[in-house]
């Protein structure tokens, strides 16, 4: 009886905590989605009545569409570079038992741990010292450095799950190292690369600190533009942009899950 009571209290407590965290996670997203569907002129919650007018407005606003396109280009380039560099690094680090590999791992991970502001400022100073002028590509470089750790982490998890005997076996069957990489290693870590790339893309797309420091005057990215708009006026178009981003992100996650399971790449090695 006593124990039953304790169990119930424990269950209730855990349930309440889970509900509270879920609410905390979902509420902002839901609120912004709801507000974006207002027919009014303000970011008032709840909206007086419903309409899609701000979404229509959005697609008539070149001053928002242009930065959105820039952000897409930056995020795409960043994802490509991060995926290639991060996968190569993960393969090197997690196939090696040397101390240097552990050191490199920590080094590559450092942008994830360091405050992004401090890191961006120092990168800006470095560019200054070596005389590199800010451009689209300096921005991509900065984004790549902060996004590579995501790819390394997730591809690394996939590499660690990969049975090294499979590679040995492939070699024993007469395959070259390159053939083994293409036919065995790559297909078996593809899930990690997909998941890592997706996270790299999203994290580049909404990155503010790096963009703030490393973008030149002509390269305007979406998050900074949105902030600028919000500063001037409480424009409902910002909510509409957020709505679009939330929906696209959800679609991306659903696709990745369907393609092979993002959650599994985050999880523990399968038995």
């Amino acid at each position: 009886m006593q124990r039953d009571l304790g169990d119930r209290v424990y269950g209730g407590l855990v349930g309440a905590l889970a509900a509270a965290s879920t609410l905390l996670l979902l509420a902002p997203t839901l609120v912004v989605l709801i507000i974006s569907l207002t027919s009014g002129m303000t970011l008032k919650f709840p909206p007086p009545s419903w309409s899609l007018r701000w979404y229509v407005e959005l697609f008539r606003s070149p001053e928002i569409l242009a930065p959105a396109l820039t952000s897409l280009r930056v995020a795409s380039c960043t994802t490509l570079f991060s995926a290639v560099l991060g996968s190569a690094a993960a393969l090197g680090i997690f196939n090696s038992r040397s101390r240097l590999a552990r050191l490199l791992d920590a080094l590559f991970m450092s942008p994830m741990v360091l405050p992004a502001m401090a890191f961006s400022l120092s990168l800006l100073l470095v560019f200054n010292v070596i005389g590199l002028r800010l451009s689209f590509w300096t921005l991509v470089l900065g984004h790549t450095i902060v996004c590579v750790p995501f790819v390394i982490r997730m591809v690394g998890a996939a590499v660690q799950q990969l049975d090294p005997t499979l590679v040995t076996c492939s070699l024993s069957l007469g395959a070259s190292r390159w053939y083994t990489f293409r036919r065995i290693t790559l297909p078996l870590i593809r899930r990690g690369i997909t998941a890592g790339s997706l996270v790299a893309f999203l994290s580049s797309f909404d990155n503010v600190p790096v963009s703030l420091f490393l973008a030149d005057a002509r390269t305007e990215v979406l998050p900074i533009k949105l902030w600028a708009i919000l500063e001037g006026s409480l424009d409902v178009r910002v909510a509409a942009v957020s709505g679009v981003i939330v929906v696209i992100t959800l679609l991306g996650l659903v696709c990745a899950e369907a393609l092979g399971g993002l959650s599994r790449s985050f999880g523990k090695p399968s038995p």
Partner: protein, 379 residues
């Protein structure tokens, strides 16, 4: 590439090509300061099935990796058909390997797994198809070509792994603890199946195992390894009947070791357990030499009454194992002895006194080293 393709075509024309002769000369290997292998000499005839047998850490896996070309030995040479392959990388040695966990490629179907080695060598498509069909038929897996490895049972996975290894028409097949992941019931069936398959292919095969039963049942000859050295190379029967060392005696089959001391140079031995034996094989030793006498459980009989030459003992445990019972007895010296005899022949209960007799005195082995030496590891 073209040369290997041509070789594959000729292989298709004559799939029963014989395996190669293997010669290991003076192989030695050290990891850091630890000697893993020392002075290994071994010649294997084409088509022969050899077992590398030894306890874990004896160097058998290291030797396998050296033969496969995954490890460069510190000393010595490996030759296939008289040609040294020391500088031939693993993927050019034409060796079929079967791994302990089978190492089937999880993202490829059974047929694609079997075809893998041929595709890697860029064999012609038609040749690959016919070869895969042939190999799957040989291991009775034709119906499973489109399945993925995770949909197969352990025995089926092993068949696929063997088909994949044999598909490249190897000159040598290496099997690393191939049966350890299988159920005990399935093991014997797979051993029979694989042995007959390897024999019918005529390929030279080396099987690494720590399981003496597996080695005895599979191999033409067994190489017993201990601490990186070869203890004995011989046929299963010879290893069992004439072990060259105490280690081999203890490792192959069961053996009872009894301490004793010669009482004269003609081979009379006083056992610590009590009783005296006349052992001609203990002769040529001065009186008073400490020896170890090894008697197999099936060479002992128990009787309820005293008989001439019998040694008194006490029954501890009786284990009926189907056709035979294994009876453990305690000697006066505290040494324990196992006796294996037909269930009908003994019905004594634990705790009762009994007398031990030796059936065939010529099958008793005598060694100089004391029993219970730490080098003996029994499976």
């Amino acid at each position: 590439m073209s040369s290997s393709a041509i070789r594959m075509q000729t292989a298709a024309a004559a799939p029963e090509a014989r395996g190669c002769a293997l010669a290991l000369a003076g192989i030695g290997h050290s990891f850091g300061g630890t000697i893993a292998l020392d002075a290994i000499d071994l010649t294997v005839a084409p088509g022969e099935l050899i077992a590398l047998l030894g306890p874990s850490g004896c160097g058998k896996t290291t030797l396998l990796q050296i033969i496969a070309g995954f490890l460069q030995p510190s000393r010595g040479s490996v030759a296939f058909d008289g040609l040294r392959v020391d500088h031939t990388p693993a993927n050019r040695r034409r060796i079929g390997m079967v791994f302990q966990n089978y190492a089937l490629f999880p993202h490829l179907t059974v047929a694609e797994n079997v075809a893998y080695g041929l595709r890697a060598r860029q064999a012609p498509r038609a040749m690959i198809q016919s070869r895969v069909a042939e190999m799957l038929a040989r291991v009775q897996m034709t119906a499973f070509g489109a399945r993925f490895p995770r949909q197969l049972s352990g025995g089926q996975q092993q068949r696929v792994a063997l088909a994949r290894a044999l598909a490249i028409d190897p000159v040598l097949v290496l099997l690393d603890e191939p049966f350890s992941a299988l159920d005990k019931n399935l093991r014997l069936d797979m051993q029979i199946e694989i042995k007959s398959l390897l024999k019918s292919c005529g390929v030279t095969s080396i099987i690494v195992t720590h399981d003496q039963e597996e080695a005895l049942s599979m191999a033409d000859r067994i190489v017993v390894l201990n601490k990186g050295r070869i203890e004995q190379i011989d046929t299963p029967d010879a290893l069992y009947d004439a072990p060259a060392s105490l280690f081999v005696n203890g490792f192959i089959g069961h053996a009872n070791f009894l301490e004793g001391r010669t009482t004269d140079p003609r081979g009379h031995v006083a056992l610590a357990a009590g009783g005296t034996l006349a052992l001609p094989q203990a002769g040529q030793r001065p009186a008073g030499t400490e020896i170890t006498v090894s008697i197999r459980p099936e060479n002992l009989t128990l009787s309820a009454g005293d008989a001439p030459g019998a040694i008194p003992t006490t029954i501890r445990v009786v284990m009926p194992l189907g056709a035979v019972s294994v009876i453990e007895c305690v000697m006066a010296s505290g040494e324990s002895v196992k006796v294996s005899q037909s269930r009908a022949a003994w019905s004594g209960q634990p705790g009762v006194p009994a007398w031990l007799g030796i059936t065939d005195i010529t099958k008793v082995h005598v060694f100089d080293a004391p029993a219970g030496s730490p080098s003996i590891t029994r499976p």
